[in-house]
């Protein structure tokens, strides 16, 4: 098992190398003089010169890259141009917000998609199946920011059942955390739920036609047990793969959802940094997000072995 994880980690090295090149080259993409752009239009020549020397923009590109990567590897992501705080410090402060939102969203998507996909996939063509399929297509088409606003409208403004904005850390007050995270998690999780439902439905239809389902029935197991034990574990194999992809999308989606619900996470930070032109902060957010995404996919890879013994490392 350990060897398997190490092997996966090693395989990540070239990927992360290319990622670092791409993130670094964001600076090179800036049209015109980066220092001028970063300093803003009202900057004095002195300020521009300061940024120029701060960021080492006069050095050769390769040296800049080496310096930047060296910093990243040591955990030095630079300093915010906006607040002068170390980037990493700000990121770590905001990471738990984004992570708890993303995980709550994954939970919501699983809670919705597993029953829906199983019901639709075991009775293809039935009324329930058609309703689920229609719901999934609609769920894919609804923009999540719009869904979020509708939820705010109904549950916060009209009924006042849940808060419209804000965030309370889980460690501070679990009940308040739940009340604050519920609407954002539904907003973020529902499109993932739509994709997972479609996937699970298809896999379930496929699996339920397999011979081993008939064998399980021949053993005298009840329909429900056959579906939930023999069907679901096999249908979960393709679903786990999709879940890994969805983790990426969910992290991306936090950008919008955090903005709507006023949650102080990485996504909100990214949008704010666009307007403050805080490039080191943007780079930091991207690096952190990729790091989390890669880590989640590693977890998915490992859990894959549980569902599919054929790929389990010997």
């Amino acid at each position: 098992m350990l060897a398997f994880i190490l092997q996966r980690l090693l395989a990540l090295v070239p990927l992360l190398f290319i990622v670092s090149l791409l993130v670094f080259s964001l600076v090179l993409l800036i049209p015109g003089d980066p220092a001028y752009m970063l300093a803003g239009e009202s900057a004095t020549p002195e300020e521009i010169a300061e940024i120029r020397s701060d960021m080492g923009l006069d050095d050769p590109v390769l040296l800049q890259y080496a310096r930047w990567t060296g910093g990243v590897l040591r955990g030095d992501l630079g300093t915010s141009l906006f607040s002068d705080q170390p980037v990493l410090e700000v990121l770590l402060e905001r990471l738990p917000v984004t992570l708890s939102l993303a995980f709550a969203a994954i939970l919501v998507s699983l809670l919705v998609s597993i029953p829906a996909g199983v019901i639709a996939g075991t009775r293809p063509g039935s009324l329930a199946d058609r309703l689920v399929t229609l719901g999934a297509s609609t769920g894919l088409a609804i923009p999540n920011f719009w869904l979020g606003l509708m939820l705010i409208l109904v549950f916060a403004i009209w009924n006042g059942w849940l808060p419209a904005t804000g965030y309370v850390p889980l460690t501070e007050h679990p009940g308040a955390w739940l009340r604050h995270i519920l609407l954002p998690a539904i907003t973020l999780g529902l499109s993932a739920a739509a994709i997972l439902t479609r996937q699970l439905r298809g896999a379930m239809i496929d699996v339920m036609n397999q011979d081993y389902i008939r064998t399980a029935r021949a053993k005298g197991l009840a329909w429900r047990g056959v579906v939930l034990k023999h069907g679901l574990k096999n249908a979960a194999i393709p679903m786990v793969t999709i879940l890994g992809l969805q983790a990426n999308y969910l992290l991306g989606g936090t950008v919008i959802v955090e903005q709507i619900f006023g949650m102080p996470g990485l996504g909100q930070l990214a949008v704010a940094s666009v307007f403050t032109r805080d490039l080191p902060m943007i780079q930091g957010v991207v690096i952190m997000a990729v790091f989390v995404a890669v880590f989640v996919n590693l977890l998915v890879d490992i859990s894959y072995g549980y569902f599919n013994p054929k790929v389990r490392p010997q």
Partner: protein
């Protein structure tokens, strides 16, 4: 009894070209046809908006702000008393054009390297796929925000970012087809007698990839529209005075408790249009031959 007829029909079908079979199957997909009809109507409505819209989308009327839907103003009015229905119709121009832009950019970025990777293989293929994998490991919207941060917030820049995000799928599709075709014996034979790469591309790869490409384009038009709406909602896409559906929702957010119709209607417009693109894509996919679908 109907068997021999069906068999005869199949025989007949085999002699008709693949594209005509595709078209025939597509014409049987009722939901997809409705979706296509809706999209055509929407496009016409957008093009002829100045003649079709009930009001001037920019005409302000400060006596009648934030009104609920009424007979004069089907979708109500906004914070400056402008007609939301007319604004929604005009915003369709921006939203549709932006989705189109993003897909074209994705095709331009994705197709050529996909062809190169599939045809040449080896180290070239390896390098291209590594970069593609890296690109796909970014959480998409965060990457888009980063690209916009660098290029500056504007609709075109936002669509460049979305195009970059969508390109890997086109790249993989082209690569897969090119690889499959390049391994066919007749292509190897053609190459051995000195036929050029461009001949192989135009005669063998493009015809094979056209139908699956259309499926992907249709689905991605929906994805691009959603992405544009999200970015414009955040203020990173369409900038005033231009207004897309997403930007309308973003502005309406401020008045959510006074006038929900400001966000309800443009949001519905996005959802229905995106759904139409998806349904069209599904219909196109189902019209592909079984053989093609299995490769997908």
């Amino acid at each position: 009894m109907s068997e021999p007829n069906a068999a005869a029909l199949d025989q007949l079908g085999a002699s008709v070209s693949a594209r005509r079979r595709f078209l025939r199957r597509f014409l049987r997909q009722r939901p997809a046809l409705y979706a296509l009809g809706f999209l055509v109507l929407l496009a016409l409505g957008a093009v002829f908006a100045p003649w079709v819209a009930p009001h001037d989308p920019l005409a302000q009327n400060l006596d009648r702000v934030l009104e609920a839907p009424s007979f004069d103003h089907f979708f109500g009015t906004d914070e400056l008393g402008r007609d939301v229905a007319s604004r929604t119709l005009f915003a369709a121009r921006i939203s549709l054009l932006a989705a189109f832009q993003a897909v074209v950019i994705a095709l331009l970025i994705g197709v050529p390297p996909g062809l190169v990777a599939g045809l040449f293989g080896g180290q070239t293929d390896n390098l291209i796929m590594r970069i593609t994998d890296a690109l796909m490991s970014f959480p998409p919207l965060i990457l888009a925000v980063a690209i916009i941060a660098v290029l500056g917030p504007s609709l075109t820049n936002a669509m460049i970012a979305v195009g970059i995000l969508l390109s890997p799928t086109f790249l993989r599709l082209m690569r897969g087809t090119a690889m499959a075709v390049a391994q066919e014996t007749y292509v190897e034979a053609a190459r051995s007698i000195g036929c050029s790469q461009s001949w192989i591309i135009t005669r063998h790869i493009l015809p094979n990839v056209v139908s699956p490409l259309f499926v992907q384009i249709s689905v991605f038009a929906g994805v691009a529209m959603l992405a544009e709406a999200g970015l414009s909602f955040l203020g990173l896409g369409a900038q005033p005075p231009d207004s897309s559906w997403g930007a309308m929702v973003g502005r309406g957010f401020r008045y959510i408790s006074h006038s929900p119709s400001l966000i309800v209607f443009p949001g519905l417009a996005i959802a229905v249009t995106v759904l139409a693109f998806y349904v069209l894509g599904d219909g196109l996919r189902d019209s592909l031959g079984r053989e093609v679908r299995r490769e997908q």
